[in-house]
Amino acid sequence: MKDKIQEKKLLYKIVVHKDAEAFGSLYDVYVERIYRFVFYKVGTREDTEDLVSDIFLKTWNYLVSNKNTEVRSFSGLVYKVARNAVIDLYRKRANSKEHPIEHALGVEDSQFEKNEQKQEVAEILVLVRRLKSDYQEIILLRFVEELSIKEIAKILDKSSTSVRVTLHRALKKLKELSS
């Protein structure tokens, strides 16, 4: 709760006073989360690093350039920007007929597999990879990033009910795959 209020204060400083330091503070809080979110979706370090840097710059520009901005949550905005950036990358890869996700995940999966302690984690990652894109996204946001249903709904531009239903179906599918 305290973090939320602190986050809102920083957001207010950015929107109203274009406070770069406040943005820096929020970067510190969110950089790892956004990196992880993007990494699980794009699969390679290079693409992830390029995207994350671009995502934060886009977020800043959106906050300070639009006077009528009605941003209520920094996390909601930055995840939304990240998701759109990933979608753009998918499109780009599709046009170049590359399949880096599977390839990348395969590489990373092999890294997990080598570590016995992380075997279970690697297995579940493989299963998640087999889910369709919508399910993957919602599962990552809910259980890895630990966002609330309401926050996910805002990021995905869906209703909370729709998110709950999708999440339920994703888990059911994941269970089927695991069994």
Binding site: K8, L11, Y12, V15, V16, H17, K18, A20, F23, G24, Y27, D28, V31, E32, Y35, R36, F39, Y40, R45, T48, E49, V52, S53, F56, L57, W60, N61, V64, K67, T69, E70, V71, R72, E108, Q111, F112, N115, K118, E120, V121, E123, I124, L125, V128, I139, L140, F143, V144, E145, E146, L171, L174, K175, S178
Partner: protein, 466 residues
């Protein structure tokens, strides 16, 4: 097992130790530096002033969306209202200490008017009376302040205050007149106290005006206006109380003992006040002097009013005092009709001998009426015939005013010592020699020129007082 799946999914987050999911610390630092450099390039140092849009953004960030929208609308509404009311209230509050004649006094009156309108829409009679009484008190306080340190323009300011006071008294009396029987008496009595206070301060202002050397004529005229106004106040107050009592009686309910005593006190106080306005000894003295000066003095005239009245054909004073029992007093058996020829004198120089005679008659007649009325009022009050007592007090108020006017005219006549016939040239010798008064002789000599050139005129009119 879904719970197992969820646990494993959460393990993805904790897979940082692997070194692949977590970003490199150096990369984080470099990206931050690079990002901050870009960010700083896009910003310009702006002053941290608070604007309305900043408030709206604050609302948007810190409140739920629906509340933020509602709060934004409310904020705009309050802002508009605040600006409008703020400007008004600053002016209005600054005007609260203003006095009649001040630039902001009109603003103060407008503020009060606004209050009156507001309570007239939503307030009961009691609330309306309370507000109007407060406004009346404001006028009284203003006159008090003006009288504490009279300025050069004191008459002008007092005139404004007096006119406004009249309006306030009429306004509050009107509301009391429309009150329900249950509360009318109480409200009328409450207002009567404030009106009495108003009369008192006005009279004091009149006394100050009487002693004002500058603009003597204007001040004197205003002083007389004030005198008439206080008389009207008294009359109106008595009428309002009488109406309220009558209304209460018509509704079939009794007046409480407390209110009854208060009404008696109002009557008694008015009686005492009116009694103090005519000094009988002084009146006799003035009449005597006036008679001597006009050479119409007859033996037994002074102090023998009955003979005066009966010997007059132009003026009729009909006093049919058939009974003194309370029962009959309350009916029309007591007929105090006065038909007197009132002498209107615009200036002392216009007084003739005939006018003096008539003025003497008026004073004699009204003085007699005053005595009769006082007796009646005392009897009616003692027998709890309050409405009749109040009505008689009203009549007494009018008659006393007539008497005072007659006395004032005679006073002026005696002071100036002017008689158009016999010729002014003859008077100084007679008067000065008879009285041996040097100062008086001087006065007469000064006035001789004036009276010899003045046009004398007698204006009479029938004035009936019931």
């Amino acid at each position: 097992m879904p719970s197992d799946v969820i646990q494993k999914l959460k393990g993805l987050k904790n897979a940082n130790g692997h070194g692949r999911v977590s970003p490199d610390a150096l990369w984080i630092q470099e990206t931050r530096s690079h990002l901050m450099a870009q960010v700083r390039n896009t910003t310009t140092q702006s002053k941290k002033s608070v604007r309305a849009e900043h408030v709206f953004q604050w609302l948007e960030i810190f409140m739920p969306h629906n509340y933020a929208v509602a709060a934004r609308r409310a904020f705009v509404f309050l802002l508009v209202l605040g600006v409008a009311a703020g400007g008004w209230s600053v002016g209005a509050s600054a005007s609260q200490d203003s006095l009649p004649g001040d630039a902001l006094w009109k603003v103060k009156l407008a503020t009060e008017k606004l209050q009156e309108v507001a309570v007239s829409v939503v307030g009961s009679n009691g609330v309306q009376v309370a507000v109007k009484k407060k406004i009346l008190t404001n006028r009284v306080e203003e006159i008090k302040k003006l009288s504490e340190k009279p300025q050069e323009d004191y008459p002008k300011r007092i005139k404004q205050a007096k006119d406004q006071l009249k309006t306030s008294v009429a306004s509050v009396n009107k509301v009391v007149g429309g009150a329900e029987p249950g509360q009318a008496v109480q409200l009328a009595l409450e207002v009567s106290q404030t009106t009495q206070e108003a009369s008192k301060v006005l009279k004091e202002a009149g006394q100050i005006l009487d002693g004002t050397p500058a603009n003597q004529g204007e001040s004197q005229e205003l002083s007389q206006e004030i005198d008439r106004t206080t008389k009207e106040f008294k009359k109106d107050t008595l009428a309002v109380i009488a109406d309220a009592v009558q209304k209460q009686m018509d509704s079939g309910s009794d007046i409480g003992i407390q209110d009854e005593n208060k009404i008696k006190k109002v009557v008694t106080d008015t009686l005492d006040e009116l009694s103090g306005e005519i000094d009988e000894e002084k009146t006799k003295d003035i009449i005597e002097k006036a008679k001597q000066n006009s050479e119409v003095a007859r033996s037994g005239d002074v102090g023998d009013t009955q003979e005066d009245v009966s010997s007059t054909t132009d003026s009729t004073v009909s006093l049919e005092f058939n009974s003194s029992t309370p029962e009959q007093l309350s009916t029309s058996s007591l007929k105090v009709s006065t038909s007197v020829k009132k002498v209107l004198v615009t200036s002392p120089e216009e007084i003739h001998k005939e006018d003096v005679n008539q003025a003497i008659q008026v004073v004699n007649q009204t003085s007699q009426e005053v005595r009769q009325l006082k007796e009646e009022i005392t009897t009616l009050t003692q027998t709890n015939q309050l409405v009749e007592a109040l009505e008689r007090t009203k009549t007494l108020n009018d008659v006393t005013a007539q008497a005072k006017e007659g006395i004032r005219q005679l006073e002026q006549y005696v002071k100036k010592d002017i008689v158009s016939d016999p010729p002014p040239e003859d008077i100084p010798n007679v008067e000065s020699k008879e009285n041996g008064d040097i100062s008086k002789e001087t006065t007469v000599q000064e006035n001789t020129t004036t009276t010899s050139t003045s046009t004398t005129a007698v204006k009479t009119e029938e004035h009936v007082v019931n």
